[in-house]
Symmetry: C2
Subunit: 332 residues, 2 copies
């Protein structure tokens, strides 16, 4: 599909398919002290990535890791509170910003590449392994603010400390490119870049903070000889911004969020698309789920499509509903 | 402008122009025990609405009130914690939903209409008074969840308790229509409907939860003989959804959020537009503000335009920057 071919039925995987909605994941997770330790334990991380494939007929596994391994590797300590979101020391409070070299950072991420290798070697040959990273702006938001939530602090910094922010994004783009290249080297077949916080940016900022750094990543990947396809996911970007992103960043395909209109965008973007069932339907199930799957399949039916959700599956989703979704897609 | 005429320079007002960034507002606010009491005190509310017009050359005042007066009037007690957001008893926890009659609810809002009357009578004849209300879905989200933030609970209810939700939206649409009609009767010249939580809805839900109830409001207003223009503000809706909203709801004009592209939408929507300077620029000021104003004016230059922000002004904005923005717009 990423080569531009349409398959019927479409291949399927779902964002956060390895995660808290699965009892076997919760049992596995209990074997590490904290979430980052879990990500850095190749045996645990690769087992987590494989669990949903054993249970459901997904066509791809995705590396089990977290987008915040990047700031962690750059020397910005990340803490995952139990229950709460991740926390970092907010960069915005510091007058001068210093980071370790990208080369040294990715050396620290050796356990991640070992997890890639283990996952790939345990996976059937006809199944795909997806590597991934957070996009520079999304990671920068966490680093600047120290936590998730409203992005006003980060957006203001983009105006007020423009040079610092552009330098930060360049450091992140280079580190992310090396990180993704190593994932491919260790066995990832394709890559996804998660821009979770593309939302609410004026066009000029979207171009500067999202499009330019993403283009740097794909350009750097190509210069490193990496030819693996790249799926971009600029969540909640406007249609105008998605069109710019599709045209300028060099990504192979786009993942669409829950609100995006596949019919409009298939025509407008001209790239293979992934998405975009409402994840709430995996909690609800029943006829609503069946209708949702049917509508999603129909909405993407005019072009190359990878079936997925519009956002990550939620912890309260029912695994039975996930199984039903896969049946509906495969039986279509 | 709302009659479809382009004015140069465009008229200007800004969302939350009466508010915490103004020292005179903070002093006035201290005279009421809590925020709802302040909204229900016509002398205080009308004074708050007039303050920004005395200081800046705005072309319109907007009623000083809150979108949560509607659930309050329907018998759902609303509390504004100091510093935190509003809180209500979450409707989602209750098996059966009961509300007071719309007619009785708007009777309770008599102090709001008195605030409209006082504001209008203190306002120069050539200045506009804008009445407003929250849209049904946005108010329903607060009522269902009891607070702001992630809208998953409300969206899930839209699938799982579809009949209850549709009935709630109908009650809200009727109450809001009567509320807006009374504002016009007491002196409002035009109206704005704030759909702050249009974001992240699949198209089918957007149509059901946003478009249909908004259409009910405008239809009811017309049947009540109200001819005042209505500005719709479905914040963070996609372009496809904005096009549907513009075509179906019967609103006169649309207000655009910070990320929306005025050039694309002026062509696509064919209605007068309002917006959409990034409110962060009113904290930052300087050349960034001047450039932002210039770009905003240019982006809307092909059609009828009301200058505004893409979102409400933030409490840390500098009044000097607001004055500079007005000068730039008026001098353009």
């Amino acid at each position: 599909v990423l080569a531009g071919e349409r398959l019927d039925p479409p291949p399927i995987w779902i964002m956060r398919q390895a995660g808290r909605y699965l009892p076997e994941y919760r049992a596995l997770r209990a074997r590490a002290r904290n979430f980052l330790d879990f990500c850095y334990a190749p045996a645990l991380a690769s087992e987590a990535a494989l669990q949903p494939l054993r249970r459901f007929g997904f066509d791809a596994a995705i590396l089990f890791s977290d987008i915040l391994t990047i700031p962690d590797a750059l020397g910005r300590k990340v803490q995952f509170d139990n229950g709460g979101g991740p926390r970092l020391a907010p960069l915005i409070d510091e007058p001068r910003w210093r980071f370790d070299e990208p080369e040294r950072a990715v050396q620290r991420l050796a356990p991640v590449y070992e997890a890639v290798e283990r996952t790939r070697s345990a996976l059937d040959n006809d199944l795909t392994l997806i590597g991934f990273a957070g996009a520079p702006w999304t990671i920068a938001c966490y680093m600047l603010q120290g936590e998730g939530g409203e992005k006003d602090v980060a957006r203001r910094a983009a105006y007020e400390r423009a040079n610092d922010i552009d330098l930060l994004l360049t450091v992140l783009a280079e580190t992310i490119a090396q990180h993704l290249a190593l994932q491919v080297q260790f066995g990832a077949d394709c890559l996804q870049i998660f821009e979770s916080w593309a939302q609410g940016l004026p066009n000029a900022l979207f171009e500067r903070l999202v499009v330019t750094p993403t283009k740097q990543i794909t350009g750097r990947l190509r210069s490193l000889g990496v030819t693996a396809p790249v799926i971009g996911f600029p969540r909640a970007a406007t249609e105008t911004q998605l069109a710019l992103y599709a045209r300028e960043t060099g990504v192979t395909a786009l993942s669409l969020d829950t609100a995006a209109d596949p019919r409009t965008l298939q025509k407008r973007l001209g790239l293979p698309l992934q998405g975009n069932l409402d994840p709430q339907l995996l909690t609800i199930g029943g006829a609503a789920l069946q209708n949702g799957v049917r509508e999603t399949l129909a909405a993407f039916s005019a072009g190359p499509h990878i079936f997925n959700l519009g956002h990550g599956i939620t912890p309260d989703a029912d695994p039975e509903n996930v199984a039903a979704m896969v049946r509906y897609v495969k039986g279509a």
